[in-house]
């Protein structure tokens, strides 16, 4: 009985602010996407922690993120070792100066990579069509504190990623958490640089 009361309380507690704050506007995925798509360019720092089953302690990486509407995304890792991932439209480039490696992939040839890249790129661009191509999209929360759940649709993606969770406020993304199918997990915190 107490549990039941707690459940009701929780429901009320989480539900109330949504209509208490902006009762007049029907806020949802579409309006969030519209908000996000208004941003043409963004630059941020990130800190990513990878929790891997094979490792005793998480890996910590940091660097910068650059996004230009509609198709350009660059993730430049600076620590612990420099490595750059650049996506321009359907081409992905991986550069590792330490190993003197440069690889170019076509996203179409690697559906799982494509889906992973677009979980971030399409969210940044507010491109709901691109998101829904790979994921079932669910939104929770309110404009000042929202959480997007991306659940892969297709088998090839499900074999790699089980869930992507993106937290944000208004048109900003704060955290991207990727849960991999085999139990590994990475959490990337993003700090917007204000130009």
């Amino acid at each position: 009985m107490r549990a039941f009361a707690a459940a009701i309380f929780l429901t009320l507690f989480t539900a109330v602010p949504a209509w208490a704050e902006e009762p007049a506007v029907q806020w949802g995925v579409d309006s969030l996407m519209q908000q996000l798509s208004a941003i043409k360019h963004s630059q941020a720092r990130f800190v990513e922690r990878k929790y891997l089953k094979v490792l005793k302690e998480p890996l910590e990486l940091s660097g910068t993120l650059t996004y230009d509407r509609p198709g350009y995304l660059q993730k430049r890792t600076l620590k612990p070792k420099p490595e750059t991932l650049t996506v321009a439209d359907d081409k992905l480039t991986l550069e590792n100066p330490g190993r003197k490696q440069r690889r170019v992939l076509k996203l179409q040839d690697y559906p799982a990579v494509w889906g992973f890249v677009d979980s971030i790129r399409a969210t940044l661009g507010g491109d709901i069509k691109a998101l829904e191509r790979f994921y079932r999209v669910e939104l929770e929360g309110q404009p000042a504190n929202w959480r997007l759940f991306l659940v892969p649709r297709e088998r090839t993606m499900k074999e790699v990623i089980s869930l992507v969770r993106i937290d944000g406020h208004h048109a900003r993304i704060d955290t991207v958490e990727v849960q991999e199918a085999r139990g590994d997990r990475s959490v990337m915190k993003i700090q917007e640089e204000v130009p």
Partner: protein, 785 residues
């Protein structure tokens, strides 16, 4: 020949029956390789066999177009599923990951046998530590999720190495929806490999029919609107060119027969005599096919097409007989007069083609045998059977009417000698100026496949990324293991040259199936269980890996260490198996490995690098150049045999006529006709190939009949008007019969048709011009009897 008429007709009927039985049971082929030499060097024989039955010959490229990508992809999946169930195909793929999964599993299972970096050093503590440090790097990479899940099984990253090497080989086609598409996205692509060899046209035809049927079912299933199916590949070409040749040969010989019959009907005014004219032709054709079938086991489509043209010469025999029979005389009497000439004409042709019989090229030998048997039977039937069948008292009326005007023309023909001399000089000048350019030395010029179809094939090949026929190294040895071992040594040389930038890359059967020696060495490089565990622990000491992570690696390494070495059977059913089959083959007891090279930038450095390998086992080949050279040599030899044939004809004529002057009278017009015909062909933009050469030989055969009859006004006691008229009718029949063939779409048939039609016409005209004017009926032929 004192047999009674009844007995002769009876023998003939019996012979026809036997021939018909043989023909009915004959096998037909359309294998281009029949026109390649049968006893070349081992390397050339390997190439020819490769074309006939190698994996390349079994490959079918399938394209689906004319709908949106979603439907095309669905069709591609449905078609693949159906074809995979068929036992006619060894392998079918549309590029979907499912079909490549077997490859990945094979590589993973056998990574320690296949990876070149499996050495003793690799599994020492230091070696493992290097590898693990790299793995930590990889784990921090943004795409770690794709590579990382193998880490516990494969800490040294062998799988990644293997995949890298494979990806270096070919980029593969573009993909949409996970399925292969052409670069422009308009055509879904599939590759199928038939179980039957490319030269087995019946089996290829059935495989093709199955693809079409499966496609029809797929269209119904997917409910696509109006997609089109395009199938290309050597087997498909063989099927289509065979049916094309059959269709053309059938259609044009019927048309030619009809036209010739119409003329003969006009001349003879008797259906019965017309039918009789065709008796020697039909008998000869039957006998020719039967002879080839018995001697060679099968009849080539080209021989058959060529055989249809036998009408051209064999029909002449009956025409000579009927047209030369004057009112009140009998065919028997006519034959007594013209038989020596007829026989000499037949022998001339037979000598010409006889040379081909010994050429050593199965295709040409067939043509030779066919012509000789066909002509001998045709002339024999004309001599011993036909006269018995002619209605008593029959003679050709039209002949008498035409005679006088023809004689007037003929009397003035010698005025054209000077212009003709100039024409011949000009022709020789043109030929001399063109030199060897006269010949088309590309093997593809023999291809019976129409140009647009060849272009679609090229396009689809490029889209699929099927390797071009380019430079490759061929390694040969007595055993499979031997050839793999040499390929591995050559591979080391090539890898070194690759780092020097001499070439961009190469492929080798040893990538997919290393020699047993190499596999064993790799197995021995893996330490035993306790030592490997010790080395691993030492390597991982200061690294962040959780303990126990690599237990699967320790276990799998020991499993691989103990297992039996891989054999070719282990690759069955995978795309890698298909590759292996394409690169490793056994032909007539010898093993061959092919190592295709990519982007060779420095041939000299490559040759220098390869020079340390034994030349009798390792040969650098440029496939296209080699094949064209093969054809060039073949064409030269065929030309040689044609010249021999002409020489044989000259010797024959000398022996029979016993006069250089008379020989020249017979041969000079023919030589002029051949020269001018060649120049006319060149002027129309044609470059000559082997078929033109054979056709020119036929011109000499047919034309010699004209010049023999013209020479000195023909056989003793004959009416020159009737002789000239008969030659004209013969010529008309030949020009029409072959001229019609000139419109065939099969390149072989049209080449022969055009050449013979022009050549025969010129032979007659030139013979008329060059033969000395006739003083009147002559009686100088008695010595021939």
């Amino acid at each position: 020949m004192t047999l009674p008429a009844r007995a002769r007709v009876g023998i003939w009927l019996g012979l026809i029956l036997v021939c018909a039985l043989v023909v009915a049971r004959s096998q037909y082929s359309a294998d281009l390789a029949a026109f390649l030499p049968s006893s070349p060097t081992p390397m050339q024989r390997f190439l020819v066999d490769e074309l006939r039955e190698g994996v390349v010959s079994r490959l079918m490229l399938i394209g689906i177009e004319g709908d949106d990508q979603k439907n095309l992809a669905a069709l591609s999946r449905a078609l693949t599923m159906r074809l995979e169930k068929s036992d006619r195909f060894a392998y079918v793929t549309n590029g979907a990951q499912d079909s490549l999964r077997a490859d990945g599993e094979f590589l993973l299972r056998n990574r320690y046998l296949l990876s070149p970096s499996v050495t003793v050093e690799r599994f020492t503590a230091a070696g493992i530590r290097d590898a693990l440090e790299q793995q930590v790097d990889l784990l921090s990479s943004p795409t770690s999720m794709l590579t990382g899940n193998l880490l516990p099984r494969d800490p040294t990253g062998e799988m990644l190495q293997l995949l890298d090497r494979l990806q270096g080989q070919d980029k593969g086609p573009a993909r949409h929806d996970g399925i292969w598409f052409s670069a422009d996205g308009a055509r879904a692509l599939l590759i199928a490999q038939t179980r039957a060899a490319g030269f087995d046209i019946d089996a290829q035809e059935q495989a093709l029919a199955q693809i079409r049927a499966a496609f029809g079912d797929s269209v119904t299933e997917v409910q696509a609107r109006s997609p089109r199916l395009v199938v290309t590949g050597p087997g498909v070409f063989a099927v289509e060119s065979r049916s094309g040749i059959k269709r053309d040969a059938m259609r044009f010989s019927i048309l030619g027969t009809l036209l010739v019959s119409a003329i003969l009907l006009f001349v003879y005014r008797s259906v019965r005599v017309l039918a009789l004219t065709l008796v020697p032709v039909a008998s000869g054709a039957l006998a020719g096919i039967a002879a080839v079938s018995v001697v060679f086991g099968s009849v080539h489509g080209v021989t058959l097409g060529f055989g249809a043209t036998l009408i051209g010469e064999a029909v002449d025999y009956a025409i000579y007989l009927f047209t030369n029979t004057a009112p009140g005389s009998t065919p028997q009497k006519t034959l007594q007069r013209i038989w020596p000439t007829l026989r000499l004409g037949m022998l001339t042709s037979a000598f010409g083609f006889g040379a081909m019989l010994f050429s050593g090229f199965p295709g040409l030998s067939q043509l030779g045998l066919f012509s000789i048997a066909g002509l001998a039977v045709a002339v024999a039937v004309t001599r011993w059977v036909l006269p018995e069948l002619v209605p008593p008292g029959y003679h050709v009326r039209t002949a008498a009417g035409l005679g006088p005007s023809l004689m007037r023309l003929l009397a003035r023909a010698h005025h054209l000698r000077k212009p003709l001399l100039l024409l011949v000089i000009a022709a020789v000048a043109v030929l001399a100026a063109r030199g060897s350019e006269v010949w088309d030395d590309e093997l593809s010029s023999l291809s019976p496949v129409p140009l647009p179809v060849q272009q679609i094939d090229r396009q689809m090949r490029a889209d699929v990324g099927a390797p071009d026929v380019g430079p490759l190294i061929v390694v040969s040895d007595d055993s499979e293991q031997g050839v793999l071992e040499i390929a591995e040594q050559v591979g080391l040389t090539l890898a070194k040259l690759q780092t020097q930038g001499v070439l961009a890359g190469f492929d080798s059967p040893a990538f997919y199936l290393p020699s047993v020696g190499t596999q064993r060495a790799r197995q021995q490089a893996i330490p035993d269980s306790a030592e490997l565990a010790r080395n691993l622990a030492a390597a991982a000491r200061e690294l962040p890996f959780r303990s126990g992570t690599f237990a699967p690696f320790l276990e799998e390494a020991q499993t691989v260490k103990r297992r039996a070495p891989l054999t070719a059977q282990d690759l069955a059913g995978t795309g890698l198996g298909l590759k292996l089959q394409a690169l490793l083959a056994q032909r007539k007891g010898r093993w061959f490995a092919m190592m295709p090279l990519r982007d060779v930038s420095d041939v000299k450095a490559l040759e220098a690098g390869l020079s340390k390998h034994d030349r009798s086992h390792v040969v650098l080949l440029d496939m296209k150049r080699e094949l064209d050279a093969l054809y060039h040599g073949y064409r030269l030899r065929a030309l040689g045999f044609a010249v021999l044939g002409v020489l044989a004809i000259a010797v024959l004529l000398m022996a029979m006529l016993r006069s250089v002057r008379r020989c020249a009278d017979v041969l000079v017009p023919l030589a002029a006709a051949v020269l001018v015909t060649t120049v006319i062909l060149l002027a129309t933009g044609t470059r000559l190939n082997i078929f033109h050469l054979v056709a020119l030989l036929l011109v000499v055969g047919v034309g010699s009949n004209y010049t023999l009859f013209f020479e000195r006004g023909g056989p003793g006691g004959a009416d020159p008007q009737r002789i000239v008229t008969s030659v004209l009718f013969c010529n008309l029949a030949t020009v029409i019969g072959f001229g019609v063939l000139g419109f065939a779409s099969t390149p072989v048939l049209s080449a022969i048709g055009t050449t013979v039609a022009i050549g025969a016409l010129l032979s007659m005209v030139f013979a008329a011009i060059l033969t000395p004017p006739l003083p009147g009926p002559l009686t100088g032929y008695s010595e021939l009897r």
